[in-house]
């Protein structure tokens, strides 16, 4: 419990460090080995639950997607967001690096080729994890080796949300330089190491007339909350 509280406090502290996003784009190009697939989906989460975009095949036979969220991690798949039953044919995690990066995906295989060294490292990591090759020592060494780039942050996020014990998790945190957390967007998102919330917490708010009330969303089908 104590360790857990320390962990929350640690990430809460990191959360207050305010860093500006770099105004640059990552131009992601994806090619599939099966040209009959004409749509891909972009997800925030590795288990494909929060879809944020749809990419349609372009006239050059490739998929192009651009984001300014440099160092953010996205997951791209052909699995439709509302289709719970169908297994995906393509799956790819993408760390959005500045400039053009490209990927070639292979049907039915959770692996891919890329010209991005960081993403290649992530691909190897993912393939190993997916095959239950989960050598914690090797992962730890990999994180240390890649400490100066965002891979460490990716790995920590991935394993932090899945299988490591509290103690191993703490060890890994200690191996990372603080800049991994503070200079990379995804690192800053790690604050709670929680899966993204599914339900907005119940909170009380105050209006301009100083009336205190529960925040409610029932007066419209959808509400955009602007913090």
């Amino acid at each position: 419990m104590k360790v857990h509280l320390v962990k929350i406090a640690f990430f809460a502290l990191l959360g207050f460090i305010n860093c500006k996003e770099v105004a640059a784009s990552s131009m992601i190009e994806i090619q599939l080995d099966d040209p009959t697939f004409n749509q891909l989906y972009v997800f925030r989460t590795f288990n494909l639950e929060e879809c944020i975009d749809t990419i349609t095949i372009a006239s050059d036979g490739k998929f192009h997607w651009e984001t300014q969220e440099i160092n953010e991690l996205f997951f791209i798949s052909d699995k439709k967001p509302d289709d719970e039953n169908r297994k995906h044919n393509y799956y790819c995690s993408v760390m959005a690096e500045k400039g053009p990066i490209n990927f070639t995906l292979y049907k039915g295989q959770d692996k891919y080729d890329t010209n991005s060294l960081t993403n290649e490292e992530i691909a190897n990591f993912y393939v190993n994890a997916n095959q239950n090759i989960f050598d914690t020592l090797a992962i730890e060494q990999s994180i240390i080796k890649n400490n100066n780039n965002a891979f460490g942050v990716f790995a920590l996020k991935f394993i932090g949300s899945t299988r490591f014990s509290e103690q191993t998790f703490q060890t890994l945190i200690n191996t990372l330089e603080e800049r991994c957390f503070t200079q990379f967007y995804y690192g800053r998102q790690m604050k709670g190491l929680r899966y993204p919330i599914k339900h907005f917490p119940e909170i009380v708010v105050k209006n301009q007339e100083d009336q205190i009330m529960d925040l409610e969303f029932t007066s419209a089908h959808y509400t955009v909350i602007d913090f």
Partner: protein
């Protein structure tokens, strides 16, 4: 805080609303800002001590501005929208389903 009036006007056909939630520590600053302009959407302040810590962890709210889309039950449909335009595009795509 962005002024969304034009975008809202262009999307009046859509059954959605925008609410601005402020986590300002200084209530007077917040009120002063709102008094300067007329807004067609509601602005609320999360009072000091009212679950701000919980929000920071649950919503992973480290940076502002930050937009998210919820439905009428409070379910989070899009945890982080890049802009109001993209949030609206997302809502339209949900509406078509």
């Amino acid at each position: 805080m962005a002024n969304y009036e034009n975008i809202l006007k262009q999307n009046e056909d859509l059954n959605f609303k925008v609410i601005a939630l402020s986590i300002d520590e200084e209530e007077q600053d917040w009120k002063g800002f709102l008094n300067k302009k007329q807004f067609s959407y509601a602005h609320y302040l999360i009072p000091n001590g009212a679950k701000k810590d919980s929000l920071s962890i649950d919503v992973a709210l480290q940076t502002v501005p930050r937009l998210m889309v919820v439905n009428d039950k409070g379910d989070v449909l899009q945890g982080r929208s890049e802009s109001l335009e993209s949030a609206i595009a997302f809502i339209r795509s949900m509406d078509k389903k």
